[in-house]
Point group: C2
Chain length 176, copies 2
Amino acid sequence: MAVVKAVGADGEKRKRPARALSQALPQTPPVADPIRLGDLSDFLGYSLKRAQLRIFDDFIGCVAPLQLTPAQFSVLMLVDANPDRNQSEIASTLGILRPNFVALLDELESRDLCVRVRSSNDRRSHNLRLTEKGRAVLARARKLIETRHEIRLRELLGDDNRELLLAMLGKIAREF
Amino acid sequence: MAVVKAVGADGEKRKRPARALSQALPQTPPVADPIRLGDLSDFLGYSLKRAQLRIFDDFIGCVAPLQLTPAQFSVLMLVDANPDRNQSEIASTLGILRPNFVALLDELESRDLCVRVRSSNDRRSHNLRLTEKGRAVLARARKLIETRHEIRLRELLGDDNRELLLAMLGKIAREF
DNA sequence: TATTGTTATACTCTATAACTATA
DNA sequence: TATAGTTATAGAGTATAACAATA
């Protein structure tokens, strides 16, 4: 397995610049030592958060042509896999509070990716479905993410390690 | 290695309730099928985010006696490992923007955990140090996290898998 | 009475511009 | 002029209470 690389970020600035002979060295050298993370990287929360931010950033860049946030993508995925479920069911499955789900859906509906259909059984409920355009956009998004994002993750981590990573993250989310 | 458990969440509600013989079955059964995550859990971003939220939530609970957020903890850790570095250096290492670091530091300083010391070399800079109390609180926090949080993660994942998880997350944060 | 979707609202995070004091 | 710390501010994301329509 590939070894984790040195330390990065400002690694290329390590070399001290040349200095005139007569010039006194200041108390603090002009090129500072890199900051040490110390034990911080041994705490799962820290590494998890930094990795999550990086992944989301890359995700957003990869689906930029479709202008989908990770949250919007997750809604499209879930409505596609579970048509005609109501807002509360979809929102709570994603850990989104019902009030906060309203604006998110408004946006998807205004872009004609998703529709709210008043349920005939229970007229309080709005059943959710993807539109034809919604399915098409989702398909394009999945292809973009697979070919630009996930494939590079497989290259970086290796197929087996990526599977193991997914399994552990799922276990934490479900059982911790 | 332990196998990932079934599905959870509402797993205990699966059994259909008894029903009067004369009562007609409504079109939709009163106990709905669980929502299927589908391929969503195969996308790293989704699993990463859910796991991160769970970990932070648990972290906050574990250090509740000390009232430290993950961000505050990371600042204490970094200042402890790198005394007399200035705000910009500490903030940027943590991915915190300088303006947002001000209030964070104000809070730590008001609680006498950390001090800003005007640098004699460059009077624009504030060098950061932990106070005696700051070191004590950090030590207690580390112990709480180790004994209540990380230890349970090791039990859940296994020691070797936890190490592998940390290595992969670090690799994503640094190299992806 | 309880639930679904909604509004209003508040609080935290994050992001950018611009000021001040120093260099 | 450039940089460190700061202020102000705006935008996401997230949280709770309460209302109308419906059950």
